[in-house]
């Protein structure tokens, strides 16, 4: 892979900046502690102390790495202390939600471009639905679904889907409308039906838009799954880890969970990107 070098270089820069920031942000605490103890500390004494705090403002990279490493390899992956276990729980809700959300998003987009009534009435409300703060209604969704006897994966996936359908709708509506007049006219001369116009023109033409949306959608889906884990009583999943770490001020645990989530997200986005490359190549659109 040609990108290994550049990626490593960028990471190196970030890690360096991060260490610097860790020193800067954690130093105040070291000084305060010294002041409370009535001692003086020199800069050289401060530096190592900023990197070994139990609850730093900003944990040093190696602390996070260790947290991650312990979380992943420290125990059997079925253990409740394993990040793999929690990651899997979140991932399954993410994937289910992404599936539902993408399906719904595409369906809505298809409806919107084909039906004036839908275009005019659904779009404004789809937008409105996204402005409803998810964290506010997530508990209600969970409570309501619980009270009708649905619990476990599905309520979380519903929240995931709720967040991920919107980017798909917006992108697909633009994408499905992107064929130019001549391309559409051609099919009109064949008297192609709406279905045929959709399959043979609109859908292929919308692919670049679709994939841009899917990347955003899958990341949103993960956020949804994590948000959905909070009000389920923060039982399991990366969201629960984050929140628990947050309750107890365990900065390192928060960061480890955060990075685990970001790795999952990056992997998911990467997979979508790979599918995109493959599909566009098959369609002869990658030059």
């Amino acid at each position: 892979m040609r990108s290994v070098g550049p990626v490593l270089a960028v990471i190196a820069v970030i890690v360096a900046l991060w260490y610097a920031a860790a020193v800067g942000m954690n130093a105040a605490w070291v000084r305060d502690q010294a002041a409370r103890a009535g001692t003086e500390v020199s800069f050289l004494q401060i530096v190592p102390q900023t990197m070994a705090q139990e609850r730093p403002v900003l944990p040093a990279p190696h602390q996070v790495a260790k947290g991650l490493w312990d979380g992943v390899t420290g125990q059997a992956i079925t253990s409740k202390r394993s990040l793999v276990y929690h990651g899997w729980i979140t991932l399954s809700a993410t994937l289910l939600g992404f599936g539902i959300g993408t399906g719904l998003g595409i369906l809505l987009a298809v409806g919107i471009i084909h039906n004036r009534a839908m275009d005019q009435s659904v779009m404004p409300w789809a937008i409105a639905s996204q402005t409803i703060p998810i964290l506010a209604i997530a508990p209600m969704i969970i409570v309501v679904m619980n009270s009708i006897g649905v619990s476990g994966l599905l309520p979380k996936a519903v929240i995931s889907a709720y967040l991920s359908f919107f980017p798909v709708v917006v992108g697909m509506v633009t994408g499905l409308r992107s064929p130019d007049a001549m391309q559409l006219d051609l099919l009109r001369t064949y008297n192609a039906g709406r279905g045929q116009t959709f399959w043979k023109l609109r859908l292929p033409a919308s692919m670049p838009y679709l994939f841009a949306s899917l990347k955003v959608g899958i990341a949103a889906s993960l956020v949804g799954a994590i948000v959905g884990e909070l009000p389920t009583g923060a039982v399991a999943g990366l969201g629960a880890r984050l929140l628990q770490g947050s309750y107890y001020g365990q900065t390192i645990q928060i960061w480890a969970a955060l990075f685990a989530a970001a790795f999952v997200a990056a992997a998911l986005v990467g997979i979508v990107g790979a599918v995109q490359a493959a599909v566009l190549k098959r369609m002869g659109m990658a030059r």
């Binding site: 001549m182 006219d185 001369t189 008297n191 192609a192 043979k200 292929p204 033409a205 659109m285």
Partner: protein
């Protein structure tokens, strides 16, 4: 206007006082005005005229891609819209307009898929028309891998692949060299003679118009209108060397004069 039929009595295209105005940000554009024309079954009608005189617009109106703002336009006795629904048209656009995500063969197959031809039939037809436009061996290429003229031929092939009764061709041979053009002209004439299709054909080449057509419509711009309709006395069978005959040259002359008159507005 010209109403005397030759091949059959039923007018395939019947335009009466057709007008079409585009509303644009800086005022209306009169693309067509008072256009009267009757095309009978089996006619080969060429449209010639200065750039911007409404040739494309008229063809598009016939294919129900634009809607006349005035007058009456009938196709096979129906509205163009109804005729379109019956898949009466094969249309070659002025620009090739191939779908970039389909190969050349895939592009030609497109109308066949839409009209529900069986797979072997599709394959057969794709092969035939690729041969007709001299693009054998390019079926698997993507449009951007072809030269401009090859793309144009692919788009012609696409329109010929299914048997529409009415063929509307907007400068189909514009980007081709003389030799290929001659050969395709001949091929088109043969096809026309064999199938009795009605053909509407836009061209800028006077010899091409005279060589191909049973009738030549000369147009003039601002507003777009018909200034002359020339019936060709040439026989239906036309060897290439008919172009050296006195009759041919006389007609070409008349067309050129009409064309020049259409340009007079800005001389």
């Amino acid at each position: 206007m010209m109403t005397d039929g030759s091949a059959s009595d039923r007018p395939v295209i019947d335009a009466q006082k057709v007008g079409l105005t585009f509303q644009t940000a800086d005022g209306p554009v009169h693309a067509l005005k008072d256009v009267n024309l009757r095309v009978l079954k089996g006619d080969f009608v060429s449209f010639i005229g200065p750039s911007g005189c409404g040739k494309t617009t008229f063809l598009r109106a016939v294919a129900a891609l634009e809607h006349p703002t005035e007058g009456r336009l009938l196709v096979n006795g129906m509205t163009p819209e109804e005729a379109r629904k019956r898949r009466a048209y094969g249309y070659v656009f002025q620009a090739a307009g191939l779908y970039p995500w389909r190969t050349i063969a895939g592009n030609i197959r497109l109308p066949l898929e839409i009209m529900g031809f069986s797979r072997p039939e599709q394959d057969r037809r794709v092969k035939d028309v690729l041969q007709l436009v001299e693009l054998e061996g390019f079926g698997k290429k993507y449009p951007w891998q072809l030269s401009g003229g090859m793309q144009q031929r692919a788009s012609i092939a696409r329109a010929l692949a299914f048997d529409a009764d009415i063929l509307l061709m907007d400068e189909p041979f514009g980007a081709l060299d003389e030799i290929v053009r001659d050969r395709l002209n001949e091929a088109l004439l043969k096809l026309w003679a064999r199938t009795g299709k009605t053909i509407g054909f836009v061209t800028h080449s006077i010899p091409e118009a005279v060589y191909l057509s049973t009738r030549i419509v000369v147009m003039s711009p601002r507003p777009g209108r018909i200034t002359d309709v020339i019936e060709s006395p040439l026989p239906r069978e036309r060897p290439l060397d008919i172009r050296d005959s006195a009759e041919f040259i006389a007609i070409a002359h008349r067309v050129r004069d009409g064309l020049r008159a259409g340009h007079s507005y800005d001389d």
